[in-house]
């Protein structure tokens, strides 16, 4: 999995996890996606994609705090692995390579 390019949703998720930093869990990732990325999605879709990427070694998770408002359920904190960072760069490079030399997109920045 780590050698393939990321889908747009996976790329946005990894970038959101990186942007949120140490407090990256479902809720904060969803907010970052919505507020910065302009993409509204469901928490289940985020979990599904993150779990798939965890199996591929692109992210790792650890258990966080439990709070009453969460019904005593622990947060699952996410962080991007070295393989995840490489996948982001590889995907970006592919996009940039495709972007270059298109007259209709001249002046637009990748």
């Amino acid at each position: 999995m780590s050698e393939r390019l990321l889908t747009d949703f996976e790329l946005m998720l990894l970038l959101a996890v990186l942007r949120v930093g140490e407090d990256a869990y479902g809720v904060t990732i969803a907010r970052e996606l919505e507020e910065t990325g302009g993409r509204t999605t469901t928490l289940a879709a985020i979990y599904l994609a993150l779990e798939r990427m965890r199996e591929g070694g692109l992210v790792r998770s650890r258990l966080g705090e439990k709070t009453p408002r969460r019904g005593g359920r622990a947060k699952k904190m996410w962080s991007v692995t070295g393989a995840g960072l490489r996948a982001i760069k590889r995907t970006r490079n592919a996009f940039v390579a495709l972007w270059k030399g298109i007259p209709e997109l001249k002046g637009a920045r990748a």
């Binding site: 809720v27 879709a45 998770s61 258990l63 408002r69 969460r70 005593g72 699952k76």
Partner: protein
Amino acid sequence: MRNGETPSRKLPFVATVLLMRFGPQDDSLLGDIAEEYQAGRSGTWYWRQTLTAVALTAAGDLKAHPLRALSSVLIGWGSLLSCFALGDVTANSIAGLIWGWSRQAAYATGWWWPFQVTAAFISYAGFALSAAIVARSSRRSPAMVLVYAASVIAVLLGFAIWMETTAGRPVPMPHTLFFALSVALPYHWRSGVLLAPALIVAVGMLATPPREHHVPKAL
């Protein structure tokens, strides 16, 4: 409300039960949904999260265990039709006991409603029983009840459409099948197309044991 405060709103009950029974076995996701709801999200938002989580779980189970899904559907329909094998005798007896109804007389008088009422009761009891059997037999994949419910929707809807296209012509069918399909007939206002799957989901929820708390791997 700040993080860590006592929850002030009650979570939507039915949606929460659906999520806990048929959703992903991930407590953190349930916690995230609860946290956002406590932070002021609407009931509609909660339902949308729930239905998406349940649908994604069912789709994932279906993809990962197609044979398990097929066996759930077969177990469901097998138990349903087994229930109905004696449906005619049971319906005749109950209608006879309560209303003094007899099939012979009904052919002459057209007095069928006692049989129709009894048959409807037997039909829904059969759907409920089959849902309980499917739920009990697929404990490792609770969402299989939803796959069975989807198969019931497909069959009843297909039957209702077929009835519409053959309107006015008698439809011959074995009486065992009659109890499974009659709830989609016009005299039931085709209500069974929705009611039967809803009953299957409701009974499936009750018959599915509560999830064990899943502790995700901390990597």
